[in-house]
């Protein structure tokens, strides 16, 4: 068990090292000089050279890479070129809306997708199944920005139930900040529920044909208990997988929704960093997101062992 865990952690470190290397070199492939960009078109060559030196951009790439790895090992993601503060601070400032948006979205997506998937598997081929499948197809094909605009128009502007955009005024309470996430989380939840619905349906269809479900019925259990305890209990592994992967995608990929709803999240941070060639921020954000992916994957695997005694570490 401990040996397996140690192996697993080593594996995670290797993945992170590969990610760090790729992030570093891929970022450098993009054209454009951050120093020149930062100083504007009027800057003298000498000023640009000075700035390049400050950020170590004048060193050979391989030296920059070695330095970057060394600092990374010490937990230092560097200094933002434009924001005048450490990258880790810039990311931490933006982490909250992104984190809670992802969390709420995944809750909404699961709350829609799992029951819908179960219902459509149980009533396979009937009207409710067709309705769910149609709904899932629709949800999957709606662009989130479009649904976001519709929701803002209807629920925020017309009905006035939710704020139109933003994350509350400075100093807003936590409850108020969460309230600002309701609409964007519903949008992301609906859009992402489609995949969860399909996985749940497929997984439940497999499981409901199993002999042990027949045994459960032969025990005289109620149909609800047969389906939820014996059916769903065995269908969880693929469901956890797709929920986990969706969560991972949401952490890094809610950029469009963050933009539509004017949320000061990591997506926003990354977009502006890309536009300004703020290498340290881009790299740092990618590293953090990759780290979260790795952690989510790890938790998925841990959850497998909790829901299925046959899965061992």
């Amino acid at each position: 068990m401990f040996a397996a865990l140690a192996r697993r952690l080593a594996g995670m470190l290797i993945v992170m090292f590969i990610v760090a290397t790729m992030v570093f070199f891929l970022t450098r492939l993009a054209p454009g000089d951050p120093a020149a960009l930062m100083l504007g078109e009027q800057a003298s060559l000498a000023d640009v050279a000075e700035l390049r030196k400050t950020y170590g951009l004048d060193q050979p790439v391989i030296v920059q890479y070695a330095l970057w790895l060394k600092e990374l090992l010490r937990g230092n993601l560097g200094q933002s070129i434009f924001l005048q503060r450490p990258v880790i601070v810039a990311i931490a400032e933006r982490a909250e809306p992104t984190f809670f948006l992802a969390l709420l979205s995944i809750l909404v997506a699961t709350a829609i997708g799992v029951p819908a998937g179960i219902a459509s598997a149980v009533w396979r081929g009937r009207a409710s199944d067709q309705a769910v499948s149609g709904g899932a197809m629709l949800a999957a094909s709606i662009p989130s920005f479009w649904l976001g605009l519709i929701f803002i128009q209807f629920f925020a502007v017309r009905l006035g139930w939710f704020p139109v955009a933003g994350y509350g005024p400075p100093g807003a309470s936590f409850a108020e900040r969460l309230y600002h996430l309701m609409l964007p989380a519903s949008v992301l939840g609906i859009v992402n529920s489609a995949l969860i619905t399909r996985f749940t349906r497929a997984s439940m269809l497999d499981v409901l044909n199993e002999d042990y479900v027949r045994t459960a019925r032969a025990k005289g259990l109620s149909e609800a208990r047969v389906i939820l305890r014996h059916g769903l209990g065995n269908a969880l592994v693929p469901i956890i997988t797709v929920v986990g992967l969706t969560a991972a995608l949401l952490v890094g990929g809610a950029i469009v929704t963050e933009t539509v709803f004017g949320l000061p999240g990591i997506g926003n941070l990354v977009v502006s960093a890309v536009l300004r060639r703020d290498y340290p921020v881009i790299q740092g954000a990618l590293i953090v997101i990759a780290g979260i992916y790795v952690l989510i994957n790890f938790s998925i695997d841990v959850m497998y062992t909790l829901v299925d005694p046959r899965v061992k570490y």
Binding site: Y212, T215, G220
Partner: protein
């Protein structure tokens, strides 16, 4: 002498059972004209080759036909409850039959490897049923589950109750299935080929176990198999099915020594013990030529296409179950010539 000679009603009395599956290609009738009896404390064997409708019959009794497309379309299946009341399982509502399942009627399936829930401990799987039907508190239910596991001779039952199915062998799992089936002291046990998936020595142990429990609990057993050697060992009465119909019913002696239906006779001849020897002393195992006609295409006797005794009348009309002796019924126009 006391008046025990008055014939008690059987535990299970099925008459004219017909099952219909609605499929895309139209209705299919995998079982029709099934008459079957199980007496309390006795074993009725249900035999017939693969696809003859044995499992469908048992699922119909349990109310477990695949919904929504499978249903009992004709006939009655009267079951005498512990209380003495008689219910017709074929027409009773889902709720009534569900309350009997796992409680007064229990079932063991052919596949011990897949019939237990892989994510629940075996103890919990038994305790769940016990809590439901015997209204026991969780701890008492678990104690009862452990007792059941010792009853089926699982060593170190208290510890094994915490095992998951994948930690057990096939034979052990089938014991768990039997413990589960027995846990609410059922009056009727339906065993659908409970030993087919097990190797021979384990098979014998499982049969002994079922026999012991039947005697101790005077439980009726409907034992489904296509193994006539097993039938000879455990059955009191035998019902033979062919292509969805009962073709012969008799006590076990008559089936083996006085069978009236050519299909039964052919089945008995297929037993390796009955095989003739060739000139080198090797056994020639007989086989029944041809294969089962599907239910849809049959007009006359369904066995006629494979029957060596068939005459024109056999192709024209289908025979009813005819009385051929005490407790002996046969579906053949020419039974008396056998």
């Amino acid at each position: 002498m006391m008046e025990t000679s008055v014939q008690e009603r059987p535990l299970l009395d099925i008459r004219g059972l017909e099952v219909t599956f609605r499929t895309e290609g139209g209705d299919v009738v995998p079982v029709r004209g099934v008459d079957l009896r199980v007496e309390a404390g006795k074993t009725t064997a249900l035999v017939g080759e693969s696809g003859s409708g044995k499992s469908v019959t048992s699922l119909a009794i349990m109310g477990l036909l695949p919904r929504p497309y499978g249903r009992v379309s004709k006939g009655v299946a009267e079951f005498r409850r512990r209380s003495g009341a008689v219910v017709d399982l074929a027409s009773a509502g889902q709720g009534v039959v569900r309350a009997l399942r796992g409680n007064e009627i229990a079932m063991i399936f052919q596949e011990p490897m897949t019939s237990l829930n892989p994510v629940m401990t075996v103890g919990e799987q038994i305790a769940e049923q016990v809590r439901l039907h015997m209204a026991l508190a969780p701890q008492a239910a678990m104690r009862h589950a452990v007792e059941m596991l010792s009853l089926v001779e699982i060593p170190d039952a208290a510890r094994r109750a915490g095992d998951y199915p994948h930690q057990m062998s096939g034979g052990m799992r089938q014991r768990v299935m039997i413990a589960l089936a027995m846990s609410c002291n059922p009056r009727l046990l339906i065993a659908d080929e409970p030993t087919t998936a097990l190797d021979v020595t384990i098979q014998a142990q499982i049969l002994d176990l079922i026999e012991r429990l039947r005697k101790e609990h005077s439980m009726g057993v409907l034992f489904i198999t296509h193994n006539l050697a097993v039938v000879a060992e455990i059955a009191d009465t035998v019902t033979v099915m062919y292509a969805g119909e009962v073709v012969e019913k008799a006590n076990v002696r008559d089936i083996f020594h006085n069978s009236r239906h050519p299909y039964t006779a052919a089945l008995v001849d297929c037993l390796p013990e009955r095989a003739r020897r060739d000139s080198n002393g090797r056994r020639i195992v007989a086989a029944i030529p041809g294969s089962v006609t599907s239910a849809a295409e049959a007009t006359g006797c369904r066995f006629a296409p494979r029957c060596q005794r068939a005459v024109e009348a056999c192709e024209a009309g289908s025979p009813e179950l005819l009385v051929a002796g005490t407790g002996h019924e046969v579906r053949c126009f020419r039974w008396s010539e056998a």
